[in-house]
Amino acid sequence: MFVLSIIKDTIPIHPSRFGVPPEQALINELNKKYANRVLHDVGLCVCVFDIAEAGEGKVRYGDGFLWYTVVFRMTVFRPFASEVIIAKVKSSDENGIQLSVGFFDDMFIPLIYLPQPSAFDPNERAHFWLPSSEETSTHALLDSPLSDRMYIDQGEIVRVRVEKDEFYDDEPGPPKATEGVQVKREARRPPYSITCSIAEQGLGPLAWWKAAEVETMDEG
């Protein structure tokens, strides 16, 4: 789920940092600039892995900064398609399940990637799976005995497969109107989101597959 990306950038070092060894000063600045940020089509930056190459610092006319050209390797969170990862259920609603891995929250399972047949129980605010049931309509599923239902509760640890990831470049838009005029903010799309699936044998809450039954495996 983590990859190394090689990035090249020009970084200014403030004169007050000249006492720090240049390598450390550069890593600090790079972490300040990139850590916990999403790079378009690259992924979510975690931290600098190491510096591959750095030129001589140059002072430009106009400021006292030392400008370095650096090539460095960044640890990036970017699970590849079809990778299996472990995540936690953050919340559930009619549209699917929101997941989280702690440092990254924009992961979700849409309805089509839930094991079938399954339905959303509005009382429990959770989806449940009815294994070995022939019913398909939501009404029939909600009439099923509670003991047969396998709930995916909030906070549960689930094994999921990454189906696809999507980047969305949210343009800042035209300059903001002057004070007095309130610009209406529409809901922002996350810059990086991951769609996951649990509609497969072996995926879903870890507890489901702890005591692996041979019969269920044969079905798949």
Binding site: M1, F2, V3, L4, S5, I6, I7, K8, D9, S16, R17, G19, V20, P21, E23, Q24, A25, N28, N31, K32, A35, N36, R37, L39, D41, V42, G43, V46, C47, V48, F49, D50, V71, R73, T75, V76, R78, F80, S82, E83, V84, I85, I86, V101, G102, F103, I157, R159, R161, E200, Q201, G202, L203, L206, W209, A212, M217, G220
Partner: protein, 210 residues
Amino acid sequence: MQVIKPRASLLSNYEVLDLLRELESDYLLKSKTAVRVKKEDEAAGVTAQRNYDPLEDISENLRTMEVEAIQYLSADYQPTRMQTPQGIAQLVKSITPYGLTKPEKLQIVNLAPTEAVELYVIVEELEDRLGETMQEVLDAVQASLTQPVSASAPQDAGGAPGAEVVIRREEMEVEVYEEDAQWDHAANDVEFVDAGEGAGVEGDLDLDDD
């Protein structure tokens, strides 16, 4: 900014955890030194502001990332707490003959499947490709974990790595007192050497092309 290679190579969860822990202990060391320097200044009656504070250089974002990622990667549902660099290197070596692809090997290292169901998810068409050797892969995984999952005292498995970390931190504290007021040299010593513990694993998982 220019992205030269978005995916130069893959990293295992254990390597990332190791890197983050190193950053974390480095941070703890710095913050301790900073507090001590401040106290010494007060005792000596120095009122002039020091022009450089090492803690200023640690961004909030990096701290958030460190804390949350360490929490996730070392949670009790992750196998990282039972893994060792030697164990992982050994595991990668022992599953080479089965003709698995690099992403599959990476996931075996990350998820450490000890049951057949878990392996089914990771390896496509498992039965056709591995057949009878499936159990050997599972055994290799089991052997790479320091504390077998089926051990009678699973709660001990969590205690060991934690204790290790504490010891490492204590060592660092001792170091601090030896090198008086030379905190920046200590920081200089921390370098992310490529030929480190995880190097064997990483090299093996290098992507040749995109």
